[in-house]
Point group: C2
Chain length 192, copies 2
């Protein structure tokens, strides 16, 4: 309305934000906080402090907190996609197993990022186009069926979340649950 903000004067980049150097720095700092201290530590004030500025100044670079989070989410999807692509290339015999193991490894290595990516509704329209599809492709290829790919994804996601949330008993053999689950999916893929 009044002053044309820094942000909406740029081309319609997915997130409504063009990739400036300063923005890159902000995302980098956000990622550090997220991975080191978890999602609840990623506040605008905390993020600003890490950059030596005030929270309100962040709004010169991003329209809202969600825009910052979406950069992290996109970054996470890119990481997952690359891992999947490498995994299926490495183990062509048993792609389902390879993708599952990779999925689990990612979730364990970057649990806070995993949560950010998968715990809440995803604003697709603010993500780079095709990124989600790229991350999903290897599993779809491995299972050979959309329905089975979704069931497999759901199982992997469920196992990860239940484990991250400590919902299994302390003595539970989570490896065994993964093994039997993956085998069930593999059989369905081969037999179907």
């Amino acid at each position: 309305m009044t002053t044309p903000s820094t942000i909406d004067r740029h081309r319609p980049v997915p997130n409504g934000v063009a990739p400036t150097e300063r923005r890159r720095q902000i995302v980098e700092a956000a990622l550090t906080i997220l991975e080191r201290e978890g999602g609840s530590a990623l506040t605008m004030r905390r993020l600003a402090a890490a950059l030596g500025i005030k929270a309100s100044s962040l709004y010169k670079h991003f329209p809202d907190k969600e825009a910052v989070e979406l950069e992290l989410i996109a970054l996470g999807f890119r990481d997952v996609a690359e891992r999947f692509e490498r995994a299926v290339r490495r183990d062509r015999r048993r792609p389902v197993r390879a993708v599952a193991a990779t999925y689990r490894a990612f979730a364990h290595e970057r649990p806070h990022l995993y949560r950010l990516m998968n715990e809440r509704p995803l604003q697709r329209e603010r993500l780079p186009e095709g990124l989600e599809a790229r991350a999903a492709a290897p599993l779809l290829e491995a299972t050979g069926s959309r329905a089975l790919a979704r069931a497999a994804w759901a199982m992997a996601h469920g196992l990860v979340m239940l484990e991250l949330n400590g919902r299994f008993p302390p003595d539970a053999d989570v490896d065994a649950a993964w093994a039997v689950g993956v085998t069930a999916i593999e059989r369905a893929a081969d037999g179907g």
Copy 2:
């Protein structure tokens, strides 16, 4: 220290709270808000307003917000347990299928309660003893294996959460994903 609070003078009931009439009313109001308006609407001020009192007065009945939520969670577990028990009694031939359908139906009928129950780490020690185990028993019985039961639970939970969070494309055939997933689990149960 000074005044012995209303709460900790009572016997060590699981949640640290004895079941008074007033407390029952509070939980009832909380449930109404949760189911009608979702988890983010369940605030202490909002809950108090529904009862015609101030937020701070709630702390005469519950030590914190989590204690109120835990009452709702316990209530949810009781509902799930009863549904499961009825389901396996009704369909003895295919207990896995029966439990899965029941699980999905519960999540769709009471999505906000489902979220409250399953989205975050669970404070077991503040829940009535044995309640969680009771809710888990039918699936364990149906699959015949802890590992498979966990894989099945994870798949169901994953499917529910991905669906509730709108993570599947709008045109996705979620029924098909459930069907193929349940079949895979059933085969593993029979063949194992």
